[in-house]
Amino acid sequence: MSAIADKILEVKDLRTFFYVQEGELRAVDGLSYSVDKGECVGLVGESACGKSVSALSVMRLIPYPPGIIVGGEITFDGRDLLKVSEEEIRHIRGNRIAMVFQEPTTSLNPVLTVSRQLSESLELHRGLDKRASAEEAMKLLRLVGIPDAERRVSDYPHQFSGGMQQRIMIAMALSCNPALLIADEPTTSVDVTVQAQLLEIINNLRTQFGTAVIIITHNLGVVARYVDRVNVMYAGRLVESGPTDIIYGEPRHPYTVGLIASVPRLDLPRKRGLHVIPGLPPNLARLPRTICAFSPRCKYAIDKCKQERPALEQVGKDHYAACFRSSEVRELVEAG
């Protein structure tokens, strides 16, 4: 049973709902996936598909009310995080599981120096004294490539550029040498050059310390080179999951096909039009649960798609898709 021992995180049938004016909003509705030790997994989908909520659920950071984790299991390092006490989860959060958020500008405390923010978790989780933690903070800043770290450690967040702030966030996340790092859209608000730098840093640290990483993104292009496995989410559920090369090479869900094709490609001749997924992501509060959630936007939808919800089924080695027509997707796409 070594296969189970190698898993650092296993999410099983997670359901996180929000109770809002419109009714019950099923942000995450039956999500299952796992992450191996040292693995890098991409969690991909459009805004409001539940990818951030699923990450916050793992951290037990869902605001209650209106949100509540209704059911499921989140096994981290052999323990069900949904069953542990508030005190225990506080010990895990920021220590064993760390998170990097999308907007570094709003995630850093503007009135504390960078050194103070970094040493906070070092003192809390690793029990270092003031001097040792300040030294460690400097080391971390150097690790994520902040030039002139000795001088800049006593600066405030606003004195750094967006890319540098995100490096500080990464340094903070790594301060306790976590087993799992969740990066929620870490590169969305930065330039492409900085994006490449940040992903390279995360990747280096991962190989150096063996940290497992979940990268959440809406852009399949960004993570192609770094992730081992891709999980595609739509309307709170997984619609496709598989090893990176297979997901990009032979996607079996029309949504994945659409996501890949909506990114203009630099290496191919310019075409006149882009592939467009029509329409908008569905309103999760009004989503019928008896149809394929993607069917209203899917040009290959058949009657069955509007009568039943497809389950995630194995379509190849380690490759899963939730689509009634997954076996025909390739022919359908080629036919146009």
């Binding site: 890319g163 540098m164 492409v192 809406h218 990009y248 203009p264 490609r265 882009l274």
Partner: protein, 326 residues
């Protein structure tokens, strides 16, 4: 003064913002946001303008629209020097030029309905009244693929992509000839980005528009533009046809920018060589001597530190400003 067929022509454009300090708010330095650039945009053409944040691309767009009083240079629109216009004649000229903003959440007034937002330019320029006004607003909504009945809703009731459509409809209201698109898709999901890009391309065909398309994402810029200009720290580094940009980039900065753009195919992307630029863009208050890019350039030689390279035409409308290219 301008060549035939050029809608926009910019000569030696400079835009410096003063840095004020002390009790007397005396000027102590200049932020050289745009530092002596020249280019042209032909009628019906889309020119892409790319570069990292802080390189002056947005300022360039705003200078063309005369939203700033520029520090020096000339901006021609259909042969008229806009910098010489004032008051009413400038206001009338403005009708030909519009701007689409980056952030669809911040650029729409939350207290106005979507219909009022779109119709406002029509009233400002005194173009239509009454029934005709309502018809035009409905037509504009239709043009950007929104339903006319949505005109009574407020911005918060729309998604990001829909808001960007409202911003586009507002820009189209006065029937402009030229639109500056300032990072119109960078705040959106990729799937929605594709929708907006497709919409902008369709409108360009139907209404015979000319765009200046500003963005930091080269793959998006290349897709929509006929020619692409690469900017760095207030200077233009390279201008070339979109098709040639990927196949034959000559400036080291362009090469670095291109290599940073991910390709959504792991088998291709893993094989590419990445030129990682170190550090951030230097401050435009005190730009490096010689070629502004030399501190981050792997090919920099002594000449690059001393002498500023000129933007030279190397044939086939391909311009490069680099000592090491030749």
């Amino acid at each position: 003064m301008t060549q035939d067929g050029n809608l926009i022509e910019i000569k030696n454009l400079r835009m410096f913002f003063p840095v004020l300090a002390g009790v007397m708010r005396r000027k102590v330095a200049d932020v050289r946001a745009v530092d002596d650039i020249s280019f042209y945009i032909k009628k019906g053409e889309t020119l892409g303008l790319v570069g990292e944040s802080g390189c002056g691309k947005t300022t360039t767009g705003r200078c063309i629209l005369q939203l700033y009083r520029i520090s020096g240079g000339e901006v021609y629109f259909e042969g008229t020097d806009l910098t010489k216009l004032k008051g009413e004649s400038l206001r009338r000229m403005r009708r030909n030029m519009q701007l689409i903003f980056q952030d669809p959440y911040a650029s729409l007034d939350p207290r106005m309905t979507c219909g009022d937002i779109i119709g406002e330019p029509l009233l400002v320029h005194n173009l239509v009244k009454g029934k005709e006004y309502r018809e035009q607003v409905a037509e504009l909504l239709h043009m950007v693929e929104l339903e006319p009945r949505m005109g009574v809703r407020y911005p918060h009731e729309f998604s990001g992509g829909q808001r960007q459509r409202i911003g586009i409809a507002r820009a189209l209201a006065v029937r402009p000839k030229f639109i500056v698109c300032d990072e119109p898709v960078s705040a959106l999901d990729v799937s929605i980005q594709a929708q907006i890009i497709t919409l902008l391309m369709r409108l360009r065909e139907e209404l015979n528009l000319t765009y200046l398309f500003i963005a930091h994402d080269l793959s998006v810029v290349r897709h929509i533009s006929d020619r692409v200009a690469v900017m760095y720290l207030g200077k233009i580094m390279e201008v070339t046809h979109s098709d040639e940009l990927y196949g034959n980039p000559l400036h080291p900065y362009t090469q670095a920018l291109l290599s940073a753009v991910p390709i959504p195919d792991p088998s291709v992307d893993r094989k590419r060589k990445r030129i990682l630029l170190t550090g951030d863009v230097p401050s435009p208050v005190n730009p490096p001597s010689g070629c502004h890019f030399h501190p981050r350039c792997s090919l920099a030689a002594d000449a690059c530190k001393e002498k500023e390279p000129e933007l030279k035409d190397i044939g086939n409308e391909h311009w490069v400003a680099c000592h090491r290219t030749f």
